[in-house]
């Protein structure tokens, strides 16, 4: 606790004063990240330097104070983390937040005054009430913070007055420690409440993996990527359920080539030495668990592979690409799905159907008439279950369309940050000959491509991306005063 007992008073009278603190501060999540970095295996050692360098650069671009020297400060951060004491926010961040809180208090006061006037029109009254309700969460926290700060001021006065009374001083000091800790918690809570959130973070998701450039090698790599996520989900204790969908190319109903058939074709190709290309293959899965979308949302984008394909006879390295999309799942309430907007088709046996025909073809195609989205599911052995899966995927797609529409109306700065979710963004390269995987957004390279393909150590990238998301959110917060 010693290093945390520095001055907690913001000196507003000297706004331009640059104070060199005896020890720097780090956001709570950063300490946890560093602890995690310390536990990485030997192969990960290279990452620590790159990782911390990235963190330092990130801090430098947003804060005046440099990141403290990692090797000397680690014990304090670890102790801070293990004691679960929230890290103190930087003075600059506190200052910005204070301005925001004052603005909220002022706005709340204006709204309350407005509502007390009898001349207000009903629509204005409703609008003011709505805005007031929207701010009420933050207002409650602000009131608690103000009360706590007043308590701290009182304790300071008491400590000054009773400097001669040792017992009273000890009691006041102990209470001061608790009060400062609670103040810090409230500040962190307020900061989180002020940062923009992604509503979809707690949802399950739909994973889509689609082969891109590179012909059959891209299809093979698509399968490898698909299995990588399956193994990752297994390790996380999530439920991974293959959906195996195909989107119609608007040429009418057609069968999806199943992976087994794909394997059969590849084997046939290898055996007969006939040139053969799969134009497009897609595999999908529904992933359910705790906080799935938050963890996986930055996996959307183009994954490149550099390796010698199994179909390559001259040993040349090929570069292929696979696109990954992570869609948050939505239920019919979220996207207001209406029966009249849907058309459901099943495989038409061409005859009378019913008792006339025996078929194991349980394929179902769902068409969303307003948007033209078509989804065909065929891998379940029951038509009823295929229909349920198709509706699940449709809801996810409609929800994602709505999210993207809302996102495009946000600030330019937000669009430039990581995690745009754009499926066409190049995000990662898997280099098999050199055995390394590089994430292009956070500049991290991990030197064990096999571990990554086995679903292990994906967190190296995911945790770094989540950390940067939080820093980007704070940067947005800091720049919008």
């Amino acid at each position: 606790m010693g290093f945390c007992s520095g001055s907690t008073t913001d000196d507003h009278e000297s706004p331009h004063k640059t104070e060199k603190r005896s020890c720097g501060t780090l956001h709570f999540i950063s300490a946890r990240q560093i602890e995690k970095a310390l536990t990485m295996r030997f192969h990960g050692n290279f990452i620590i330097c790159r990782y911390l360098s990235r963190l330092r650069n990130q801090f430098n671009s947003n804060f005046e104070f440099p990141l403290p020297n990692f090797r000397h400060r680690a014990p304090f951060f670890l102790r801070s983390y293990s004691a679960e004491v929230p890290a103190q926010l930087s003075p600059e961040l506190l200052n910005i937040m204070e301005q925001r809180l004052s603005a909220i208090e002022y706005r709340t006061s204006c709204l309350n005054n407005f509502l007390n006037q009898p001349e207000a029109s009903p629509s204005e009254y409703a609008r003011a009430n709505k805005e007031l309700r929207k701010l009420s969460g933050s207002v409650d926290l602000i009131k608690e913070l103000r009360a706590k700060q007043k308590e701290i001021d009182g304790l300071k006065s008491l400590m000054a007055e009773c400097s001669e009374d040792k017992d009273m001083l000890n009691m006041a000091t102990e209470e001061m420690g608790q009060a400062v800790e609670e103040e810090r918690k409230l500040q962190n809570l307020l900061l989180k409440s002020l940062l923009p959130k992604d509503d979809a973070d707690e949802r399950d998701c739909i994973l889509e993996v689609r082969a891109g450039t590179g012909g059959e090698e891209a299809s093979l790599f698509a399968m490898d990527i698909f299995r990588m996520y399956e193994k990752y989900a297994l390790e996380k204790g999530w439920k991974f359920e293959v959906v195996d969908i195909a989107q119609s190319d608007h040429k009418g109903y057609k069968s999806t080539m199943h992976w087994n058939l794909l394997l059969a074709r590849i084997e046939f190709h290898l055996a007969t030495d006939v040139l053969w290309t799969i134009l497009s293959q897609e595999a999908s899965a529904a992933i359910a668990g705790d906080g799935v979308f938050r963890k996986l949302k930055f996996e959307s984008g183009i994954h490149r592979v550099q390796r010698v394909p199994v179909t390559e006879k001259s040993g040349r390295i090929h570069t292929s690409a696979v696109s990954v999309a992570i869609l948050p799942q939505a239920d019919e309430v979220d996207v207001q799905l209406k029966n009249e907007d849907l058309r459901i088709d099943t495989y038409r046996s061409g005859g009378s159907g019913g008792q006339h025909a025996n078929t194991t073809n349980s394929a179902v195609r769902v068409t969303h008439i307003p948007t033209g989205i078509m989804i065909t599911i065929q891998d379940e052995r029951s038509q009823h279950m295929n229909k349920a899966k198709a509706l699940k995927v449709l809801c996810a797609k409609l929800y994602e369309m709505e999210r993207l529409r809302l996102r495009s109306s946000r600030s330019k700065l937000r669009l430039e940050q990581i995690g745009s979710g754009d499926r066409s963004e190049r995000i990662r390269t898997y280099n098999f000959p050199q055995g390394r995987v590089t994430d292009h957004r956070v500049g991290i390279t991990y030197h064990s491509v096999d571990d990554v393909m086995q679903g292990e150590n994906l967190d190296v990238f995911i945790d770094a991306l989540l950390l940067q998301e939080e820093m980007d959110a704070m940067a947005t917060f800091s720049s919008s005063q």
């Binding site: 008792q355 025996n358 009823h384």
Partner: protein, 364 residues
């Protein structure tokens, strides 16, 4: 024209005899001996996916079989489609994948790449796998009989020779019941009947959407069907909710006159003259008693109309599956003209292929 009870029953005496004789040539010895036993001794088969994995084979031997089976499937091409609208190569390959899923205990073995001497636990011997796939392709034995089960709605139902394989179209009947009972608490608590239950599909599906007080009586003429349906009911722990009775149409339900909250049936509705032209999987292997609807395919349907008027309580619901638009319209005509005053809110509904397939309505 009002059908007499005797004229309705007469068509079934011949199909019953035919069923016995046809089974002696089509079914394996187990089924024949089962049929010749008394009804209480019919023992249903255990579907493949529920059997114990007591067999063991080398992974390379399994792959060898898989390659052979795949080659057989590919060689079919569109031959079956052209002859009687049967399955094509891609559908057979998907069935092969599902057969593997049911036969192999550890599914992760299926995706292993190495052709090793590693042994795989199986629910069926490798020799029988060759036999099963030959039956599927050479004898056109339905895939559902090969693996002993059909996936239907969210259920996996045991089926075997002598029991009609539940059709995807029939899944919709449960949705109709679900829509009705969600708006009518009285029907939700009532007693429903599933006539000609076969594997018990409709009874179990409806049992799942009724409230805790709802009950289903499932009847079938065939002792094999009754035994298989009982097995399926037991697998889904619906013994307290679903009662099985053996007998012809309404005979087992005499105690329920005027008391039924709902009545559903997927009766035989194929005209007799069309039986010989059916797809091989159907015509050669499935029970004729569950398919043959008489001269115009409507013998059972008309009988169900008469019975519904007698058995349903006021505001009781019924839903029947038919051959298509012509039978639907004829059935509605019959109910409106010859059963005038018995029914209301008659409706014809389509299946997902766009064929008018179902007639639903309420007792007055």
């Amino acid at each position: 024209m009002r059908l007499t009870l005797s004229s309705v029953y007469r068509p079934y005496s011949f199909p019953t005899l035919l069923k016995s004789s046809s089974f002696s040539t089509l079914c394996r010895p187990f089924c024949s001996s089962a049929l010749s036993s008394s009804p209480t001794c019919v023992k249903p088969q255990v579907p493949l996916f529920l059997r114990q994995p007591i067999y063991s084979t080398k992974l390379c031997e399994l792959k060898k079989w898989h390659d052979w089976a795949k080659g057989v499937a590919f060689s079919i091409g569109s031959t079956f489609v052209d002859s009687d609208n049967g399955p094509d190569s891609s559908l057979l390959c998907r069935e092969l994948k599902w057969l593997m899923e049911d036969a192999v205990e550890d599914h992760s073995m299926i995706v292993k790449d190495d052709d090793s001497d590693e042994r795989v636990k199986m629910r069926v011997g490798i020799e029988e796998l060759y036999c099963l796939w030959k039956q599927r392709v050479q004898e056109r034995r339905p895939f559902q009989y090969v693996v002993g089960c059909e996936h239907w709605r969210d259920l996996v139902l045991s089926v075997q020779e002598g029991v009609l394989i539940p059709r995807p179209e029939t899944e919709l009947l449960v949705d109709f019941v679900d829509d009705v009972v969600s708006e009518n608490e009285d029907l939700k608590r009532g007693v429903w009947a599933d006539l000609g239950t076969g594997s018990g599909a409709l009874a179990i599906g409806i049992g799942g959407v009724l409230g805790s007080e709802g009950r289903v009586i499932a009847t079938d003429l065939s002792p094999v069907a009754v035994a298989v349906a009982a097995y399926n009911v037991q697998r889904y722990c619906f013994q307290d909710k679903i009662e099985l009775r053996e007998g012809s149409w309404f005979e087992p339900l005499k105690d329920m006159e005027g008391k039924l909250a709902g009545l559903v049936s997927n009766p035989p509705y194929i005209p007799s003259k069309d039986i010989s032209g059916l797809q091989a999987e159907v015509g050669r292997h499935e029970p004729r008693v569950a398919l043959d609807g008489g001269t115009d395919g409507m013998d059972a349907l008309l009988h169900l109309c008469d019975g519904a008027a007698l058995m349903l309580k006021p505001a009781g619901f019924f839903a029947f599956e038919t051959n298509g638009e012509q039978q639907c319209r004829a059935l509605v005509d019959y109910m409106e003209n010859y059963r005038n005053g018995s029914f209301c809110n008659l409706e014809i509904r389509s299946d997902f292929a766009g064929i008018l397939r179902f007639v639903i309505g309420f007792h007055q």
